[in-house]
């Protein structure tokens, strides 16, 4: 099983270290850091590698490396999932995960580790159950500004930095609240003609609960939700949660009023007895953050951006070229994308770039930059509202005369963005009920949606 668990700072310092089996040398912390930092030819090291008979498995979160070592033939996803869980638990208890948060809470984290792992075997990993065993007070740390992701860029609900131990407080400062976030990450590829040739949403319903006494909840999703597996190639239809009726997507794909999901999985707390008939999920939420459901779909997406690109020679000079980009934002006018970045790789013989942008006033250009090293041209916009239409022009100075091949060497264009209160799949929460009959009990309920780009690429 797991021989050692340790946490390394971004510079490779050990901040937490536990040895369980004593069969891996102490120098493993350095071995790990050096191997992952100087992996062959600067490539990113894979999350699992073997050095001198010791396997190193790691995940990175909040700038720190969480690492497990072993000499056994363990299940790697088991260890990686466990490391991810540790990082979630640290977030639940310390408000966030970062070098600072861990250093400030190290007795608490050792206490948690005691319960999480015994002799290298994972034990209790529910944030809720762990509360019984924890005696240390947390020091809540908000992540440093440099690591703070824009809302929704990471998969989990962000912007809330508080410890689950808050729900134990009796000093009147306790705030009962619950966050339900629908987080969707879009992976879309457009071909040169502007058609989406592949598109997928990886979505997740994330719950972060700070409700004292854990009252039961009821969540209702769209009535027109259809969960199916593709039928065309002989897949048996059926609910993704096991059993269910024999829908086939083919029959419904044309009907755009349906929200079609390819596959869903649910957290074990979800009671799905009313899901087939009413699309209702009942649950008793444990404290802390967890994914109530993960889903994926490639159907009927609302694609938030379209783009056209043209590269042409400059009649005035054969060492110049002009690239025009036009970008439409196809979300409802009351929604807006934040932190939009348009990234355009240019060929090596582009020496200089000059850019002009036409954009409606509110879509202020935050700036553009061209890097000689990576040959990436990047525009950044602060806020782009639905219905807007942006034009970008880049005048390239070339070190060799313009050739037709330049057209294929420019691109592909890659977009990064976050759209709050928008779900590309149109999945939505119809209601979120807290099932406690008490007139005075009125905790805050937050339902949020966010769609962000995972990979949003226009080929040229």
């Amino acid at each position: 099983m797991i021989s050692q668990f340790f946490i390394l700072s971004p510079r490779g310092d050990v901040i937490i270290r536990r040895d369980y089996l004593g069969n891996v040398p102490k120098t493993s912390t350095e071995t790990f850091f050096r191997t992952s930092k100087f992996y062959k030819a600067g490539d990113e090291a894979p999350p699992i590698f073997l050095v001198d008979g010791v396997s190193y498995l790691s995940v990175k979160d909040g700038g720190v490396h969480l690492v497990a070592t072993t000499r056994d033939n363990v299940s790697p996803s088991f260890v990686l999932e466990f490391l991810k869980r540790i990082s979630i638990i640290i977030k639940d208890y310390c408000g966030s995960i970062s070098e600072e948060a861990i250093r400030k809470n190290f007795p608490l984290i050792y206490e948690l580790l005691d319960e999480l792992l015994d002799y290298g075997l994972p034990q209790n990993t529910s944030t809720e159950a762990l509360k019984t065993f924890v005696l240390n007070e947390p020091t809540v740390v908000a992540p440093p500004a440099s690591l703070k992701p824009l809302f929704g860029l990471s998969k989990g609900p962000t912007g809330v930095f508080k410890s689950v131990l808050d729900t134990n407080r009796t000093d009147g400062k306790r705030r009962d609240e619950i966050y339900v976030d629908v987080v969707e990450r879009l992976a879309v590829t457009f071909n040169a003609a502007g058609h989406a040739i592949s598109s997928q949403i990886d979505g997740s319903i994330q719950v972060k609960s700070y409700l004292a006494g854990n009252p039961p909840l009821k969540i209702k999703l769209n009535d027109d939700l259809l969960i199916t597996r593709r039928d065309g190639s002989g897949y048996a239809g059926g609910g993704g949660y096991g059993g269910g009726s024999g829908f086939s997507a083919g029959d419904y794909a044309a009907d755009s009023s349906l929200v079609i999901l390819d596959d869903v999985n649910f957290h074990e707390v979800a009671d799905l007895s009313a899901f087939d008939t009413e699309r209702c999920i009942s649950l008793v939420p444990p404290d802390g953050e967890f994914a109530l459901a993960n889903y994926r779909t490639s159907h009927a997406l609302r694609l938030p951006f379209r783009l056209s690109i043209a590269t042409e020679a400059d009649p005035a000079s054969d060492h110049k070229a002009l690239v025009r980009l036009r970008l439409w934002c196809d979300v409802p006018a009351d929604k807006a994308a934040s932190g939009l970045e348009v990234e355009l790789p240019l060929p090596g013989h582009v020496a200089r770039v000059h850019c002009e942008v036409d954009a409606p006033g509110s879509a202020a250009l935050a700036g553009w930059e061209f890097s000689d090293k990576t040959h990436l041209l990047r525009w950044r916009f602060k806020k782009v509202s639905g219905g807007m239409d942006l034009s970008m022009r880049a005048r390239l100075t070339l070190t060799k005369p313009f050739g037709a091949s330049l057209r294929t060497e420019v691109g592909p264009v890659n977009l990064k963005f976050t759209i709050p209160m928008f779900s590309a799949s149109r999945i939505s929460l119809k209601y979120l009920q807290i099932m406690r009959k008490d007139r005075n009990y009125n905790p805050q309920r937050w339902v949020r949606y966010v769609t962000s780009s995972n990979s949003y690429t226009f080929r040229t």
Binding site: S75, P76, Y110, N294, N454
Partner: protein, 940 residues
């Protein structure tokens, strides 16, 4: 409360301060102190000297404090087994506390203390806890059985713990079931015996527990199910029915383990219908794994690439989900590419090709190359798509990107071999790009193509001639191809100019090369051509067998083995488990084996002595244990002190004659070799006698032996520079660590204390792990010894070529700072266990530049003894084989220098004849001289 303050750097006298705080009666203060100790422990500082002080805090009502103390105990009990005994009594008492948390804590911690003496005391509490009313205690006790088994298997079997564990599989609490199962699996692994046989009765219980368990427990159960021998199809069906819902779990480990069970059962059932139904259910969950974080995706992809080889139908229609995303990490992209090739079919090839073409224009060179190869591999495996693949390759060649063109040429050669005489029309386009070929594999491929189709390429002779101009500089691969291609050309078009070419090539390949393969092949051709040109045609121009694409296909036997290890590291490495798993557990520490590790324990003697009487307060067992252990402690320390530094028995004498100290030490320096260490010197003398020319060498060997018996450290500081302080010292290797052995002699008129050490940046990143030079306060005339542990600190690594200089600074509270320069001897920097396997050695040897060579003037009569001697200085002999035809022996030796620098050596010697040729390779060539010196001194 911000605990990060504990990580602030060591201040002077910190240890002393901590001791006082640990003894404080104020509980919060005490707790703070223990936290500081734990923080120091985490960052790797040695705080083992505080052991007795921390253990004294153990008996407390404060659970938080108790946990902290236990944490410390687990870490250091190994190095202080005799002191750890002091804690036993508290453990036993805690295991009977009314609070289940404390009971569990006690039994959990006791099991982590891997000291065999403690295990005897563990059995009774463990037995009680296995039957505890509280499931939390029971589940902790279950794991503890596995811990105990690792330390003392006989004890576990004698006490019937294994049966108790098996009974626990029927426990009402799923956590207990899961832990009992995990413990049994672990014991089975350690012992290699079958302690866990799943009967059909047990199977039923496990399946029932599956739904109740935590996700981790579910994985344990699913992994256990795989080893169940099914009786018939019905049995398998029943299991799969219960396991299938697990495929919907959010935890990818549960999904993969469930998939493993279903795949296993697919091998068992005969019904094709069932296999088809199950296959369909597996596809979507596997695809869903690709929505997870890249780390989880990577594991899933490595497993999927095995699954699609065994059961192609499961994902046959899903190739699209494996298309690479622009921002996938490179390790994910590479795996996706491999799976896309496996799933490419005539139905989806157009889509797939479009993707490959897109990837071939990305920026990452390795990825681009792999994408081009992927196109070639699809062409080879899909006959109907070959033409389309070739057109894409030609388009890519038009981009003129150097590495794309070269890669394309290589795969086109494969396509020609797969489909002979079909696509030669494109040769002209290839020939337009000859100048961009500069990599051997691409050149060799192009030369092969020219030779193979010499009769259809009008200017084949001219083309080959240009290649031949650089014949002597080419790599062997290209030379061989050039030779063969020229012969083919000659057989097909025997013109005069070609005749001249062939003579040129044959003579170059036979006379001007030292590559035996090339020479032999050239002779064969020569003979053939000169005796029977027709036969030569039959041989050289014979039809070649058609190739298939098997570059990603695993051997059926290996695939079968790996399919049984789905969702394990073996499935990620694509290597069977026994190639990388070794059952290596730390041997249980006993007092005897610790002798070597105990090098800086002076302070603890006093502490132990002080602590022992206190321990008697804790009750009978501890007192008895302390009594038992105190005797060896004293012995041990006696030996150690003798070995390391000031002779413990003699401190009175030097103290009495302060003036003569230097003399005395000086005398000692010479004396031991002759007198003080006669037993150690004897074998060396015998060796010297056997070889009269090597008398000096013999003395050198005797010298280190003598240092072990009495101090003979070189002087580092003295005279005026030392302001009365004289320091002797040297870097040594003690108990697997590098320590700076220091001997300080206070000849000044004041008491000196607060000695601290620092070193300047050096070539090895050596830095003191603890800056304190633990000699305490030295009164005028007094002397003290300390061993400062050194650790690797990358920040201390000096750039530039390695040198053996170490600049040292030592400060004292009274006399200020002193500086001296020391030489770093290489021997102490060679690490235990610094060996690598033969494959790695070969690969590294080939990969490194020219070696340094030296002939050592030593004689080896007995190779086995020489190996042992090298081993003693942590140079490991990987292989020993005779050098054919010379009567010599070759030894392949490796070692790891502090800071993970591998050095590789080849020794060639003639038994009993003076002279050993040593070749040295390393990334740091500058170490050669130092390594030669170590080899020389170890062998003489």
């Amino acid at each position: 409360m911000a605990d990060s303050k504990y990580f602030s750097t060591t201040k002077k006298g910190e240890i002393h301060e901590l001791k006082e705080e640990l003894a404080s009666l104020d509980r919060p203060k005490k707790k703070e102190a223990v936290k500081k100790v734990i923080a120091a422990m985490t960052v790797g500082k040695d705080v083992s000297m505080l052991f007795p002080h921390v253990v004294n805090c153990m008996q407390t009502e404060d659970l938080e404090l108790k946990k902290l103390v236990y944490l410390y105990l687990i870490n250091y009990a190994k190095t202080q087994p005799d002191l750890a005994i002091m804690a036993v009594n508290t453990f036993v008492k805690d295991s009977q506390e009314p609070n289940p948390l404390i009971r569990a804590l006690a039994v959990r911690t006791m099991g982590c203390i891997r000291v065999d003496k403690i295990t005897e005391y563990l059995c009774d509490p463990l037995q009680r806890c296995l039957k505890d009313d509280d499931p939390y205690v029971r589940k902790t006790a279950a794991v503890c059985v596995a811990k105990l088994f690792d330390i003392n298997p006989e004890l576990v079997e004698d006490r019937g713990f294994l049966d108790m564990l098996r009974d626990m599989l029927s426990d009402a609490n799923p956590m207990v079931v899961a832990n009992a199962l995990a413990a049994l699996q672990e014991i089975q692994e350690i012992s290699g015996k079958e302690v866990l046989q799943i009967t059909s009765h047990m199977l039923f219980k496990l399946l029932a527990a599956l739904n109740e368990c935590t996700e981790w427990g579910q994985v344990f159960i699913l992994d256990a199910l795989v080893s169940y021998q099914v009786q018939d199809s019905k049995d398998a069906e029943k299991i799969v029915e219960r396991v299938l819902p697990r495929l919907q779990h959010v935890n990818s480990a549960v999904v993969l383990s469930a998939a493993k069970v279903v795949l296993r059962m697919m091998e068992e059932v005969r019904s094709e219908e069932l296999v088809k139904v199950w296959s369909k259910k597996m596809g979507p969950p596997l695809v869903t794994l690709l929505s997870a974080e890249p780390e989880v995706q990577y594991v899933a992809l490595r497993n999927i690439s095995l699954i699609v080889q065994r059961w192609p139908s499961i994902l046959a229609n899903e190739v699209k989900v494996f298309f690479c995303k622009y921002n996938d990490p490179i390790y994910v992209k590479m795996e996706k590419l491999e799976i896309m090739i496996a799933l490419a079919s005539e139905r989806n090839i157009d889509q797939v090709l479009l993707e490959f073409k897109e990837y071939a224009q990305e920026v990452d060179v390795d990825f681009v190359r792999k994408a081009v190869r992927a196109i070639g591999r699809c062409a080879v495996s899909l006959e109907k798509a070959a033409q389309r693949c070739i057109s894409v390759l030609l388009e890519l060649i038009q981009t003129k990107v150097n590495y794309v063109v070269q890669e394309a040429v290589i795969v086109i050669k494969d396509i020609f071999r797969r489909y002979p005489n079909q696509y030669e029309s494109i040769i002209g386009q290839l020939c337009d790009n000859l100048e961009s070929l500069d990599e051997p594999e691409a050149k060799a491929s192009m030369v092969w193509i020219i030779g193979e189709y010499a009769d259809r390429i009008d200017n084949a002779d001219e083309l080959l001639e240009t290649f031949l101009e650089t014949f002597p500089e080419e790599t062997a691969m290209v030379q061989l191809q050039l030779l063969t291609a020229t012969v083919k050309l000659f057989l097909k078009k025997p013109t005069d100019s070609v005749q001249r070419m062939i003579q040129l090539v044959l003579s170059a390949a036979t006379n001007e090369t030292d590559n035996p393969d090339l020479r032999d092949r050239a002779y064969v051709y020569w003979r053939l051509l000169s005796t029977d040109p027709e036969a030569a045609k039959d041989v050289v121009l014979a039809n070649k067998p058609v190739i298939t694409d098997d570059s990603s296909q695993l051997e059926p036997a290996l695939l079968k083995a790996l399919m049984e290890q789905i969702s394990s590291l073996a499935s990620v490495y694509h290597k069977p488990a026994d190639t990388f798993v070794s059952r290596q557990r730390l041997a249980v520490q006993t007092v005897d084996t610790l002798a070597a590790a105990r090098s800086f324990a002076e302070e603890d003697v006093a502490a132990a002595a002080a602590a022992a009487p206190q321990a008697t307060g804790n009750g009978a067992p501890a007192a008895a244990a302390a009594a038992v252990s105190s005797a060896p402690v004293v012995d041990l320390l006696g030996e150690d002190l003798l070995g390391d530094s000031t002779p413990a028995a003699a401190p009175a004498a030097p103290a009495a004659t302060p003036g003569g100290l230097d003399d005395l030490l000086g005398g000692l320096d010479v004396a031991p070799a002759a007198a003080a260490a006669p037993p150690a010197a004897a074998p060396a003398a015998a060796a010297a006698a056997a070889d009269p020319f090597d008398l000096l060498g013999g003395m050198a060997a005797a010298a280190p032996a003598a240092t072990a018996a009495a101090p003979s450290l070189p002087q580092l500081l003295g005279g005026e520079k030392g302001k009365g302080l004289t320091v002797y010292g040297q870097l040594k290797r003690v108990g697997g660590r590098v320590v700076y052995q220091l001997h300080v002699n206070n000849g000044s008129a004041t008491s000196v204390d607060g000695l601290m050490l620092q070193v300047n940046n050096n070539s090895f990143g050596l830095a003191p792990a603890d800056q304190n030079v633990a000699v305490g306060t030295l009164a005028p005339g007094a002397r003290g010894s300390a061993a400062v542990p050194m650790a690797y600190n990358p920040a201390k690594l000096a750039q530039g070529p390695a040198n053996m200089k170490l600049q040292v600074a030592m400060r004292s509270n009274q006399l200020g700072v002193f500086y001296w320069d020391d030489n770093i001897p290489l021997a102490p920097l060679l690490e235990e266990g610094g060996t690598i396997d033969g494959q790695a050695f070969l690969a590294a040897w080939r990969g490194l530049p020219q070696e340094a060579v030296q002939k050592l003037d030593v004689t080896i009569a007995d190779v086995e003894a020489a190996k042992a001697r090298l081993g003693a200085v942590n140079l490991f002999v990987l292989a020993h084989r005779p050098v054919p035809g010379t009567g010599q022996d070759a030894l392949y030796v490796t070692g790891r220098v502090f800071g993970s620098m591998q050095v590789l050596l080849e020794l060639r010697l003639m038994r009993g004849t003076p002279g050993v040729d040593v070749s040295f390779k390393s990334e740091r060539q500058e170490l050669a001289a130092a390594v030669f010196a170590v080899v020389r001194s170890s062998l003489t």
